[in-house]
Protein backbone atom coordinates (compact mmCIF):
# COMPACT_ATOMS: atom_id res chain seq x y z
CA UNK A 1 0.00 0.00 0.00
CA UNK A 2 1.06 3.59 -0.59
CA UNK A 3 1.31 6.04 2.29
CA UNK A 4 2.25 9.70 2.38
CA UNK A 5 4.65 11.10 4.97
CA UNK A 6 4.99 14.80 5.70
CA UNK A 7 8.33 15.28 7.40
CA UNK A 8 9.75 18.29 9.23
CA UNK A 9 13.03 19.38 7.65
CA UNK A 10 15.51 21.86 9.04
CA UNK A 11 19.17 22.31 8.31
CA UNK A 12 20.46 25.32 10.27
CA UNK A 13 23.53 25.49 8.02
CA UNK A 14 21.40 26.04 4.92
CA UNK A 15 18.14 27.64 5.99
CA UNK A 16 16.80 29.98 8.65
CA UNK A 17 13.34 28.47 8.77
CA UNK A 18 12.17 24.85 8.76
CA UNK A 19 9.93 23.42 6.06
CA UNK A 20 8.08 20.14 5.42
CA UNK A 21 8.89 17.61 2.70
CA UNK A 22 6.30 15.13 1.50
CA UNK A 23 7.16 11.59 0.47
CA UNK A 24 4.71 9.03 -0.90
CA UNK A 25 6.16 5.55 -0.66
CA UNK A 26 5.14 1.93 -0.83
CA UNK A 27 4.94 0.42 2.66
CA UNK A 28 4.29 -3.04 4.03
CA UNK A 29 1.41 -3.75 6.41
CA UNK A 30 3.90 -4.68 9.15
CA UNK A 31 6.08 -1.58 8.89
CA UNK A 32 6.68 0.77 11.77
CA UNK A 33 7.21 4.49 11.25
CA UNK A 34 10.94 3.84 11.70
CA UNK A 35 10.85 1.35 8.82
CA UNK A 36 9.26 4.06 6.70
CA UNK A 37 11.86 6.65 7.76
CA UNK A 38 14.62 4.18 6.88
CA UNK A 39 13.03 3.54 3.47
CA UNK A 40 12.79 7.28 2.78
CA UNK A 41 16.42 7.81 3.81
CA UNK A 42 17.78 4.83 1.91
CA UNK A 43 15.76 5.15 -1.29
CA UNK A 44 14.41 8.70 -1.59
CA UNK A 45 16.42 11.32 0.30
CA UNK A 46 19.72 10.41 1.92
CA UNK A 47 19.96 13.78 3.64
CA UNK A 48 17.06 13.04 6.02
CA UNK A 49 18.45 13.03 9.57
CA UNK A 50 16.92 11.12 12.47
CA UNK A 51 18.15 9.05 15.41
CA UNK A 52 17.64 5.34 15.80
CA UNK A 53 19.50 2.50 17.40
CA UNK A 54 17.93 -0.60 18.91
CA UNK A 55 14.69 -0.73 16.87
CA UNK A 56 13.02 -2.54 19.79
CA UNK A 57 11.66 0.26 21.97
CA UNK A 58 14.48 0.05 24.48
CA UNK A 59 17.05 2.71 23.60
CA UNK A 60 14.64 5.65 23.27
CA UNK A 61 16.62 7.17 20.39
CA UNK A 62 13.81 7.36 17.85
CA UNK A 63 11.29 9.38 19.89
CA UNK A 64 9.55 11.83 17.55
CA UNK A 65 6.20 13.53 17.27
CA UNK A 66 3.90 11.52 14.98
CA UNK A 67 0.65 13.24 14.03
CA UNK A 68 1.08 15.58 17.01
CA UNK A 69 1.76 12.87 19.59
CA UNK A 70 5.12 11.86 21.02
CA UNK A 71 5.87 8.26 20.08
CA UNK A 72 8.75 5.88 19.49
CA UNK A 73 9.02 5.58 15.71
CA UNK A 74 10.13 1.96 16.10
CA UNK A 75 6.96 0.99 17.99
CA UNK A 76 4.32 2.88 16.04
CA UNK A 77 2.81 0.87 13.22
CA UNK A 78 2.17 2.80 10.01
CA UNK A 79 -1.05 0.80 9.58
CA UNK A 80 -2.38 2.22 12.86
CA UNK A 81 -2.24 5.78 11.49
CA UNK A 82 -4.77 7.37 9.17
CA UNK A 83 -4.24 9.78 6.27
CA UNK A 84 -1.05 11.73 5.75
CA UNK A 85 1.45 10.93 8.51
CA UNK A 86 3.19 14.02 9.86
CA UNK A 87 6.52 13.43 11.58
CA UNK A 88 8.18 16.19 13.58
CA UNK A 89 11.00 16.43 16.13
CA UNK A 90 10.20 16.39 19.85
CA UNK A 91 8.64 19.71 20.78
CA UNK A 92 10.63 22.30 22.76
CA UNK A 93 14.03 20.66 22.35
CA UNK A 94 16.39 22.66 20.08
CA UNK A 95 16.48 21.05 16.64
CA UNK A 96 19.94 20.06 15.44
CA UNK A 97 18.74 18.87 12.07
CA UNK A 98 15.45 17.47 10.73
CA UNK A 99 14.15 15.08 13.40
CA UNK A 100 17.27 15.16 15.56
CA UNK A 101 17.10 17.30 18.70
CA UNK A 102 19.72 18.56 21.15
CA UNK A 103 19.60 16.36 24.24
CA UNK A 104 22.60 17.62 26.19
CA UNK A 105 20.52 19.80 28.53
CA UNK A 106 18.04 16.94 29.02
CA UNK A 107 20.84 14.67 30.23
CA UNK A 108 22.44 17.47 32.25
CA UNK A 109 19.20 17.75 34.24
CA UNK A 110 19.21 14.01 34.71
CA UNK A 111 22.72 14.21 36.18
CA UNK A 112 21.55 16.96 38.58
CA UNK A 113 19.27 14.50 40.40
CA UNK A 114 22.17 12.05 40.82
CA UNK A 115 20.59 9.02 39.19
CA UNK A 116 22.67 6.41 40.94
CA UNK A 117 22.47 4.54 44.22
CA UNK A 118 23.93 6.56 47.10
CA UNK A 119 24.69 4.53 50.18
CA UNK A 120 27.14 5.58 52.89
CA UNK A 121 27.29 2.27 54.72
CA UNK A 122 29.67 -0.46 53.63
CA UNK A 123 28.00 -3.29 51.70
CA UNK A 124 27.81 -6.70 53.37
CA UNK A 125 30.76 -8.90 52.45
CA UNK A 126 28.81 -12.14 52.27
CA UNK A 127 25.67 -11.07 50.40
CA UNK A 128 24.07 -8.33 48.33
CA UNK A 129 22.17 -5.35 49.75
CA UNK A 130 18.89 -7.16 50.25
CA UNK A 131 15.44 -5.66 49.82
CA UNK A 132 12.04 -7.16 50.60
CA UNK A 133 9.67 -7.81 47.67
CA UNK A 134 7.30 -5.16 49.12
CA UNK A 135 10.06 -2.54 49.21
CA UNK A 136 11.12 -3.51 45.71
CA UNK A 137 7.59 -3.00 44.39
CA UNK A 138 7.70 0.67 45.46
CA UNK A 139 9.97 1.46 42.53
CA UNK A 140 8.01 -0.55 39.97
CA UNK A 141 7.07 1.82 37.18
CA UNK A 142 10.03 4.04 38.05
CA UNK A 143 13.07 2.08 36.85
CA UNK A 144 11.70 1.19 33.42
CA UNK A 145 12.26 4.67 31.94
CA UNK A 146 14.26 4.53 28.68
CA UNK A 147 15.08 8.28 28.70
CA UNK A 148 13.55 8.97 25.30
CA UNK A 149 12.48 12.47 26.39
CA UNK A 150 8.88 12.09 25.17
CA UNK A 151 7.44 13.04 28.57
CA UNK A 152 9.60 16.12 29.10
CA UNK A 153 8.90 17.30 25.56
CA UNK A 154 5.14 16.95 26.17
CA UNK A 155 5.20 18.87 29.48
CA UNK A 156 3.55 22.33 29.31
CA UNK A 157 5.44 23.42 32.44
CA UNK A 158 8.68 22.70 30.54
CA UNK A 159 7.46 24.53 27.43
CA UNK A 160 7.42 27.82 29.27
CA UNK A 161 10.26 27.20 31.68
CA UNK A 162 13.01 25.17 30.06
CA UNK A 163 14.98 25.25 33.31
CA UNK A 164 12.38 22.92 34.87
CA UNK A 165 13.99 19.53 35.52
CA UNK A 166 11.10 17.86 33.76
CA UNK A 167 9.22 14.61 34.32
CA UNK A 168 11.96 12.27 33.06
CA UNK A 169 14.60 13.51 35.54
CA UNK A 170 12.08 13.56 38.40
CA UNK A 171 10.85 10.05 37.63
CA UNK A 172 14.46 8.89 37.73
CA UNK A 173 14.97 10.79 40.99
CA UNK A 174 12.15 8.88 42.66
CA UNK A 175 13.55 5.60 41.33
CA UNK A 176 16.42 6.22 43.80
CA UNK A 177 14.70 8.28 46.51
CA UNK A 178 12.06 5.53 46.75
CA UNK A 179 14.65 2.76 46.88
CA UNK A 180 15.04 1.53 50.47
CA UNK A 181 18.74 0.86 49.84
CA UNK A 182 19.39 4.49 48.91
CA UNK A 183 20.55 7.08 51.48
CA UNK A 184 20.96 10.01 49.11
CA UNK A 185 17.87 12.13 49.74
CA UNK A 186 19.93 14.74 51.59
CA UNK A 187 22.15 15.14 48.53
CA UNK A 188 19.21 15.40 46.15
CA UNK A 189 16.88 17.55 48.24
CA UNK A 190 18.61 20.78 47.17
CA UNK A 191 17.75 20.36 43.50
CA UNK A 192 14.41 18.61 44.00
CA UNK A 193 13.18 21.33 46.36
CA UNK A 194 14.49 24.18 44.19
CA UNK A 195 12.45 26.48 41.98
CA UNK A 196 13.23 24.24 39.01
CA UNK A 197 12.30 21.09 40.94
CA UNK A 198 9.11 19.28 41.85
CA UNK A 199 7.07 22.43 42.54
CA UNK A 200 7.01 23.44 38.88
CA UNK A 201 4.86 20.43 38.01
CA UNK A 202 1.14 21.26 37.89
CA UNK A 203 -0.10 17.67 37.47
CA UNK A 204 -1.24 18.21 33.90
CA UNK A 205 -0.59 14.52 33.10
CA UNK A 206 0.69 15.16 29.55
CA UNK A 207 3.80 13.19 30.52
CA UNK A 208 1.69 10.17 31.41
CA UNK A 209 -0.09 10.32 28.08
CA UNK A 210 3.17 10.78 26.18
CA UNK A 211 5.21 8.01 27.79
CA UNK A 212 5.70 5.18 25.26
CA UNK A 213 6.42 2.80 28.14
CA UNK A 214 3.14 3.62 29.93
CA UNK A 215 4.95 4.99 33.00
CA UNK A 216 3.54 7.64 35.33
CA UNK A 217 6.02 10.46 36.01
CA UNK A 218 3.29 12.57 37.66
CA UNK A 219 2.86 9.88 40.30
CA UNK A 220 6.63 9.91 40.92
CA UNK A 221 6.60 13.71 41.30
CA UNK A 222 3.72 13.58 43.79
CA UNK A 223 5.58 10.93 45.80
CA UNK A 224 8.72 13.08 45.77
CA UNK A 225 6.69 16.01 47.12
CA UNK A 226 5.36 13.87 49.94
CA UNK A 227 8.89 12.78 50.81
CA UNK A 228 10.11 16.39 50.79
CA UNK A 229 7.24 17.55 53.00
CA UNK A 230 7.89 14.67 55.39
CA UNK A 231 11.59 15.46 55.39
CA UNK A 232 11.28 19.21 55.96
CA UNK A 233 8.25 19.58 58.22
Amino acid sequence: MERTFRIYRFNPEEAKEPHYDTFTIEVDQTWTVLDALNAIKWHHDGTLAFRRSCRHGICGSCAVMINGKNELACEKLVASLKGVITIEPLKQFPVLRDLMVEQEEFFEKLRLVKPWLINHTSPPTDKERLQSPEDRRVIDGMWECILCGACTSACPAFWDNDSFLGPAALLKAFRYVGDTRDEGLDERVGILDSKIGVWRCHTIFNCVEACPKSLNPTDAIVKLRKRLVKEKL
Partner: protein, 129 residues
Protein backbone atom coordinates in the same frame (compact mmCIF):
# COMPACT_ATOMS: atom_id res chain seq x y z
CA UNK B 1 21.61 25.25 31.21
CA UNK B 2 20.69 28.57 32.73
CA UNK B 3 20.44 28.69 36.51
CA UNK B 4 17.27 30.72 36.53
CA UNK B 5 14.96 29.81 39.36
CA UNK B 6 17.43 27.75 41.34
CA UNK B 7 17.06 28.87 44.92
CA UNK B 8 14.93 28.26 47.94
CA UNK B 9 12.27 25.66 47.55
CA UNK B 10 8.57 25.51 48.04
CA UNK B 11 7.79 22.90 50.68
CA UNK B 12 6.06 25.36 53.01
CA UNK B 13 4.26 27.17 50.19
CA UNK B 14 3.00 23.91 48.69
CA UNK B 15 2.00 22.42 52.04
CA UNK B 16 0.10 25.49 53.25
CA UNK B 17 -1.57 25.90 49.85
CA UNK B 18 -3.07 22.42 50.27
CA UNK B 19 -3.87 22.96 53.93
CA UNK B 20 -5.61 26.30 53.38
CA UNK B 21 -7.42 24.83 50.38
CA UNK B 22 -8.88 22.06 52.52
CA UNK B 23 -9.81 24.39 55.40
CA UNK B 24 -11.35 26.94 53.02
CA UNK B 25 -13.92 24.48 51.66
CA UNK B 26 -16.07 24.21 54.85
CA UNK B 27 -15.49 27.86 55.79
CA UNK B 28 -16.55 29.00 52.32
CA UNK B 29 -19.70 26.87 52.49
CA UNK B 30 -20.56 28.24 55.94
CA UNK B 31 -19.93 31.79 54.72
CA UNK B 32 -22.05 31.38 51.59
CA UNK B 33 -24.93 29.67 53.38
CA UNK B 34 -25.06 32.07 56.31
CA UNK B 35 -24.24 35.37 54.65
CA UNK B 36 -25.85 34.93 51.28
CA UNK B 37 -28.72 32.49 51.65
CA UNK B 38 -30.48 31.56 54.87
CA UNK B 39 -32.08 34.62 56.43
CA UNK B 40 -35.43 34.56 58.17
CA UNK B 41 -36.93 37.48 56.24
CA UNK B 42 -34.80 37.26 53.13
CA UNK B 43 -31.33 38.58 52.49
CA UNK B 44 -31.09 42.12 53.88
CA UNK B 45 -28.51 44.55 55.20
CA UNK B 46 -30.02 44.38 58.69
CA UNK B 47 -29.89 40.58 58.92
CA UNK B 48 -26.32 40.40 57.60
CA UNK B 49 -25.00 43.09 59.96
CA UNK B 50 -26.85 41.51 62.88
CA UNK B 51 -25.15 38.20 62.15
CA UNK B 52 -21.77 39.86 61.61
CA UNK B 53 -22.00 41.70 64.91
CA UNK B 54 -21.58 38.37 66.69
CA UNK B 55 -17.91 38.05 67.83
CA UNK B 56 -17.76 34.39 66.80
CA UNK B 57 -18.84 35.25 63.27
CA UNK B 58 -16.31 38.08 63.21
CA UNK B 59 -13.54 35.62 64.09
CA UNK B 60 -14.74 33.18 61.43
CA UNK B 61 -14.88 35.92 58.79
CA UNK B 62 -11.38 37.16 59.66
CA UNK B 63 -10.03 33.60 59.48
CA UNK B 64 -11.82 33.17 56.15
CA UNK B 65 -10.38 36.42 54.82
CA UNK B 66 -6.84 35.60 55.95
CA UNK B 67 -6.84 32.08 54.52
CA UNK B 68 -8.49 33.14 51.26
CA UNK B 69 -5.98 35.95 50.75
CA UNK B 70 -3.05 33.65 51.49
CA UNK B 71 -4.40 30.92 49.20
CA UNK B 72 -5.14 33.30 46.33
CA UNK B 73 -1.91 35.27 46.51
CA UNK B 74 0.22 32.16 46.99
CA UNK B 75 -1.39 30.74 43.86
CA UNK B 76 -0.61 33.98 42.06
CA UNK B 77 3.00 33.75 43.23
CA UNK B 78 3.21 30.20 41.84
CA UNK B 79 2.15 31.63 38.46
CA UNK B 80 4.89 34.28 38.77
CA UNK B 81 7.41 31.52 39.41
CA UNK B 82 6.28 29.68 36.29
CA UNK B 83 6.15 32.58 33.88
CA UNK B 84 8.45 35.31 35.25
CA UNK B 85 12.00 34.18 34.72
CA UNK B 86 13.95 37.24 35.82
CA UNK B 87 14.71 37.01 39.55
CA UNK B 88 14.42 40.80 40.00
CA UNK B 89 10.93 40.92 38.49
CA UNK B 90 9.93 37.90 40.54
CA UNK B 91 11.06 39.59 43.75
CA UNK B 92 9.18 42.77 42.81
CA UNK B 93 5.98 40.86 42.06
CA UNK B 94 6.35 38.85 45.27
CA UNK B 95 6.72 42.11 47.23
CA UNK B 96 3.67 43.60 45.51
CA UNK B 97 1.65 40.47 46.27
CA UNK B 98 2.64 40.69 49.95
CA UNK B 99 1.79 44.39 50.05
CA UNK B 100 -1.57 43.80 48.35
CA UNK B 101 -2.32 40.95 50.75
CA UNK B 102 -1.52 42.97 53.87
CA UNK B 103 -3.45 46.00 52.62
CA UNK B 104 -6.54 43.98 51.73
CA UNK B 105 -6.30 42.10 55.03
CA UNK B 106 -6.11 45.38 56.99
CA UNK B 107 -9.15 46.82 55.15
CA UNK B 108 -11.05 43.56 55.63
CA UNK B 109 -10.28 43.24 59.34
CA UNK B 110 -11.21 46.87 60.01
CA UNK B 111 -14.48 46.41 58.10
CA UNK B 112 -15.41 43.18 59.89
CA UNK B 113 -14.56 44.59 63.33
CA UNK B 114 -16.50 47.81 62.77
CA UNK B 115 -19.74 46.11 61.77
CA UNK B 116 -22.42 46.51 64.46
CA UNK B 117 -25.99 45.31 64.67
CA UNK B 118 -28.43 48.02 63.42
CA UNK B 119 -30.02 48.54 66.86
CA UNK B 120 -26.58 48.96 68.50
CA UNK B 121 -25.39 51.33 65.79
CA UNK B 122 -28.59 53.35 66.28
CA UNK B 123 -28.19 53.40 70.07
CA UNK B 124 -24.68 54.75 69.65
CA UNK B 125 -26.12 57.62 67.68
CA UNK B 126 -24.48 56.77 64.42
CA UNK B 127 -25.39 54.59 61.49
CA UNK B 128 -23.84 51.18 61.02
CA UNK B 129 -21.21 50.81 58.28
Amino acid sequence: MSDRGIGSGGVLGWFFQRLTGIVLVPILLIHLLTMHRYHEHGLAWESVTRLMSNPYWKVLEIVFLTLALYHGLNGLYAIFQDYVHHSGWRLLLFSLACLAGLTLLAFGVVTVLSIQAPELAGAAGRPGP
